[in-house]
Subunit: 147 residues, 2 copies
């Protein structure tokens, strides 16, 4: 499965960058994953609109009002996508003030990491850790059991 994880706006915090790199490295043992900043929402929409070339991404937006999964349910969602589709999944984290309607309308899923409003830089690290955790669950690696 191909994954792209993007966020709107750049990070100044080196600790966030270090954790982003760490979980992305772990995740890349299980999936083709790339991550990076996008300038704005239109850059995001270009990746998942009808005219997207060479391939149209399926968009998963992060928003605290979205659907919550347990880690096991999230692993199941990824596993089912992997079995069923060659389209890359694009996970997007908004800027501090969230997303407008346009990306919400094209999103396949609006995913919530919890009811609390998380600093968007932390949301990125939590999402990457959950993606990594999901693959360890699918591959029965003991990470999820606390080892």
């Amino acid at each position: 499965v191909k994954l792209k994880i993007v966020w709107i706006g750049r990070t100044k915090e080196p600790a966030i960058q270090a954790l982003t790199d760490e979980y992305l490295k772990r995740l890349s043992h299980y999936a083709e994953a790339e991550a990076g900043a996008l300038k704005d929402e239109s850059a995001l929409l270009k990746l998942c609109g009808r005219e997207a070339r060479p391939v149209r991404h399926l968009l998963v937006l992060l928003d605290s009002s979205g659907k919550q999964f347990s880690s096991e349910e999230f692993a199941k969602f990824l596993g089912e996508h992997q079995d069923r589709s060659f389209q890359p999944l694009l996970f997007a984290i908004g800027a501090a003030n969230g997303f407008t309607e346009a990306p919400r309308e094209v999103a396949t899923l609006i995913l919530s990491l919890g009811k609390m409003t998380l600093a968007h830089e932390l949301a990125r690290v939590v999402l990457l850790e959950q993606l990594y955790r999901a693959f360890t669950i699918l591959k029965r690696h003991p990470y999820h059991l606390g080892h």
Copy 2:
């Protein structure tokens, strides 16, 4: 309000330590806050048992199966505690395999940061950011609005 944030087991990851320090520093503008590692659950129970001296802490345990608050609801919980009680609040994050029954039985609240199982080191950073955010909500500081 006095806050103590503890976790079972030490951290090796410098990026986690840097973020812990950063949010603790921000939090200390609003509350007397201290944070640190505890060796095990009995050290935790000593701080909130009936015999605790000089003061018994009110225990809030972190667990994904606990009660979820929005950031605004969490701010209200802290504000109400602040108005009503001089007892310090003790937030505790378990080791990778969570908590046993004993601390659950003495806990005032079992708090969930979301349905997903979060790496316990990340849970600490997310909790500290939510505590900081809660005080900015109570004090009407614009942080929560994304500034």
